[in-house]
Structures are given as structure tokens and as C-alpha cells.
Point group: C2
Chain length 236, copies 2
DNA sequence: CCGGTTGTTTGCGATAGCGCAAAACGGGCC
DNA sequence: GGCCCGTTTTGCGCTATCGCAAACAACCGG
């Protein structure tokens, strides 16, 4: 099995307060794997046999209703954990994880978790911190869906994606993984049609440039303004 | 200061895996306080100086936008913790907590948390579990707001309230704390007007009986049906 | 280089739910 | 017992957004 260099992961929040030699021990329990673009890492409802740390690539976590509709729970960036079902005492994954880019992950067996946190309590504290942060973000998202119009929500979503995974390009910021209108719709609680209309509009105003699964923010500042705009009318 | 009997709280999830004598030590760091109905326990944005365990009563956690709109994040029931800002490494409370009933809480200073989890790692593990569960519930809520119609969402909200804080009464289940249409609107991402219309309709069909800040589910079973109903039309 | 597949754009109704306004209601307080 | 205030109800027009359908466009594999 490929050995993972501790120096590559030592700085991650997950391992804060863990001594280097302990880190080595933790990593010895993991294996690494590569998931090609568009492959499924685990499926909602499946036995939660493992938990993951993303090293390279991007992973989309999505939740599906009984009737087949989905929402994107989040996009996972390198350095983040996902599939932490055991942290909440769940035996099954509450969402589906799919690689949106060729991705590399570290995989621990779920069964190792209790022992790991007992030996290295910092792991539990760190995980609590990240899960807590996600909870707060989740509440913010509920607040937005509940109180803002679609256009503002899409603006917020793009700004967040740009912050999280934006790559500077010539004149603007590009979201550096493939993302469709449908995906954005599923992040903002709307339909791909509405997202398409909004982006078309923005494109005409020079706010963004976009194409097939590709979005570049050309004028982030004005998008921020849009995101914060109150419901009342624009320029009379 | 009133001494808290360990036997009253020993069974709570928060203290799972904590030895009785340790529990005693943990409780010694807390003080208890009583908040009368409608009093504010802490305000969004305030310094997170304490975290709380609810012993009696009910607490509403709500988040407010810059423009003054709010959502109800959750209702806290006895035995649950709240105000865990430190768990996510936040210096300020992300929401406002208000007692909806006369309530009694245990209060620990935020500063005690790091020491507590170091000495009693089970606390971190237990808290991780509850925060993780809340995160999942939060995702479920996003899924509902994004994919269901208002009526279904209200149905789900009432069923959850009934499960969490329902009191059996003559013919039905009563939500055993004061809750207004506005509150329900803020839980489901709609307006008090719409909630009022829906409840009026349900009342006529004998599904619920309600009044000023009071709701009784008369026919939970049919409400479940409503909650699960797909968007398509009702009886042709 | 071509055909198929997947993602995007856009037009055009249809409508669920909002927002405003006003009236009715209920309960506690003096 | 009567008044005042917060809550609830309800009517009515409005519109943001959906939903469907159809035409495009871009990429992929052969």
C-alpha cells in the first residue's frame, strides 16, 4: 500500500494537536484510493463502513428524497473529511458522495473510529469543531432559503464556491471543478431553468462568463452587491 | 448555590460513559439559573461566555438576518444542551435563545470547556454525536424546504414538535409549550398568513384544534399522510 | 468527422404563496 | 367588568418562480 507522507496532512485541522508520531500511527490505519471523475464513493443508505479524508480532487455530497429529488449538501475540498456517519452514531450514510473530478482519498474503517478518538482525543475535539461549523453553515443556508429570493441565493452560492474553490484566471475567478446549472439549483433550492435564466442575465451584464459546467466570476464585487441587495426594486 | 442532584442528569446522552464521581466534578463547575417565560437567555452576536443544559422548560433558538427576518433554528427540550458556540470555535453566539416557558438551566462558563473535554473525553464524543445528529436534521430540513410544498412542511413540523414535546390529551396530542403561527412559519420557511390559512383548513377537517399559541393534533395519522403526500393532486 | 448524449437556453402559460390591509378574537390587567 | 394589546383570520390582487416543451450547443467516442 502506498505510504502517505505525514507532512502532507500534518497541517490539516483534523490533526491539530496531534503529535507527529501519533499522526503516523493514525495514518497507518488508513489506506488511500483513487476515484475517477463521476464515480460514486458511497451511496446514501449504504452501510457506513468507512470515513474519508479528501487529498486531491472534489467530491459532491448529495441527499435524495424518496421521490428522487436531490439537494447538494456540500462540495468537499481537499483537506476536508466526509462520510463521518459514525460521528453521529449512524450506521448508514445519510447522503451520496461522488467524485466530480479525479480524486484521491484516505480511507479509514469506521470500526477504527472509537479506538482512534480514545487514543487521540484531539481527533474528537477537532471533528466536533468542523461538524459544528458545518452545522452553523447549514443554518445560514436555511436562513437564506427561507428569506431571500432566488437571485440572491444563487449569488451567495457562487461567491461561496469561489471562495472555497476559486482559481484566479485572467480577469476573474473560475470555479475549478465542473459544476452544472442543475448542481447550483440543488444548492439553492430552485430549478435548473431558473438558474440558467439568472446566469444568462448576469452574463449579458458582464457579471459572469459561463459555459458547459464551467463558471467564471468576472465581477465578484457586483455579485456581492446582488447577494446583499434587499428585496426592493433595483434602479428605477 | 443550589446543588444539582447527579441522579437527575446522569442518564442524559451528554454524560454517557462518564463515571458518577466524574459527573459530580463536572456539575460542580456549573451553576443553575431560572429564566422566566419570554426572557432572553443570550442574544445572537453576544460574547459566548457560557454554554447551557436545559433542565426544565423550553427554549427557542432563532437566527436573525441583518434585515430583521428570523428563522427558528430549533426548540430545545429538557435534557438538551444549547449555546455550544465554543464547540465550533466561535466567540459569539450564532443565534438568540429565549425561554418560551419558565425554564431552568445549568450554566457552565465557556472557558471551562477545554479543560472538561481534556479530562473527560467522553464529553467531546457525546457532544460530537448530538451536533452530528443536528447537522443531519438540518440537512433534512433543507431538503424539505427545497422540495416540498408549504403544507407538507407544516405537517412535518407539527409532527416533529408533537414527537419532541407532545403531551397526550383527551383526544389527541398537544404541543406542550406556547407556539404561534409566526413561530411555525419561521420553522418552515413561510409566512404566518400561510400557516394560519393551512391550520384553519385543517381545523375544518378535524385534523387539528388550535387557538392562541396552542395546537392540538386531533388526527396525527392523517397529518402523516399529508406530510408524505407527493405534489400531485388530491382526491380527483 | 459524424452521431449521440448530456447540458443549456428560452418561450409561454400556470399557480402557489406572498404581501397588504382590515377585521375579529381572546386574555390578561387594572 | 371593561380596555388594551398581541394573535389570528381572511379577502384580494400580484408576481416570482415553476413546469413543460422544444430548440440549441458542446463535448465524447468511434
Amino acid at each position: 500500500m502506498a505510504k502517505v507522507d505525514t507532512s502532507l496532512v500534518a497541517h490539516l485541522p483534523l490533526f491539530g494537536g496531534v503529535k507527529p508520531e501519533d499522526l503516523d500511527e493514525i495514518l497507518r490505519e488508513a489506506r488511500s484510493a483513487r476515484y475517477p471523475k463521476n464515480s460514486t464513493i458511497f451511496e446514501q443508505g449504504a452501510d457506513a463502513q468507512s470515513f474519508f479524508l479528501l487529498l486531491h480532487g472534489h467530491v459532491r455530497a448529495a441527499k435524495t428524497t424518496p421521490t428522487g429529488e436531490q439537494i447538494v449538501v456540500r462540495y468537499v475540498s481537499p483537506g476536508e473529511t466526509f462520510g463521518l456517519a459514525m460521528a453521529i452514531g449512524a450506521a448508514r450514510y445519510p447522503a451520496t458522495a461522488m467524485a466530480v473530478d479525479d480524486s484521491v482519498v484516505l480511507i479509514w474503517p469506521t470500526s477504527a473510529w472509537p479506538r482512534l478518538i480514545e487514543r487521540f482525543p484531539a481527533l474528537a475535539a477537532n471533528t466536533l469543531q468542523t461538524v459544528g461549523t458545518r452545522l452553523q453553515e447549514s443554518h445560514t443556508r436555511i436562513l437564506e432559503i427561507s428569506t431571500q429570493q432566488v437571485e440572491q441565493r444563487v449569488a451567495h452560492a457562487l461567491l461561496r464556491l469561489a471562495k472555497q474553490s476559486g482559481k484566479k484566471v485572467d480577469h476573474g475567478i473560475e470555479i475549478d471543478f465542473p459544476i452544472s446549472r442543475q448542481d447550483i439549483a440543488q444548492m439553492t433550492g430552485t430549478t435548473l431553468h431558473t438558474v440558467s435564466r439568472i446566469l444568462s442575465g448576469w452574463e449579458q451584464q458582464g457579471l459572469v462568463e459561463s459555459g458547459r459546467q464551467r463558471i467564471i466570476l468576472r465581477d465578484p464585487h457586483r455579485i456581492v452587491v446582488l447577494a446583499e441587495r434587499t428585496v426592493d426594486s433595483g434602479p428605477a
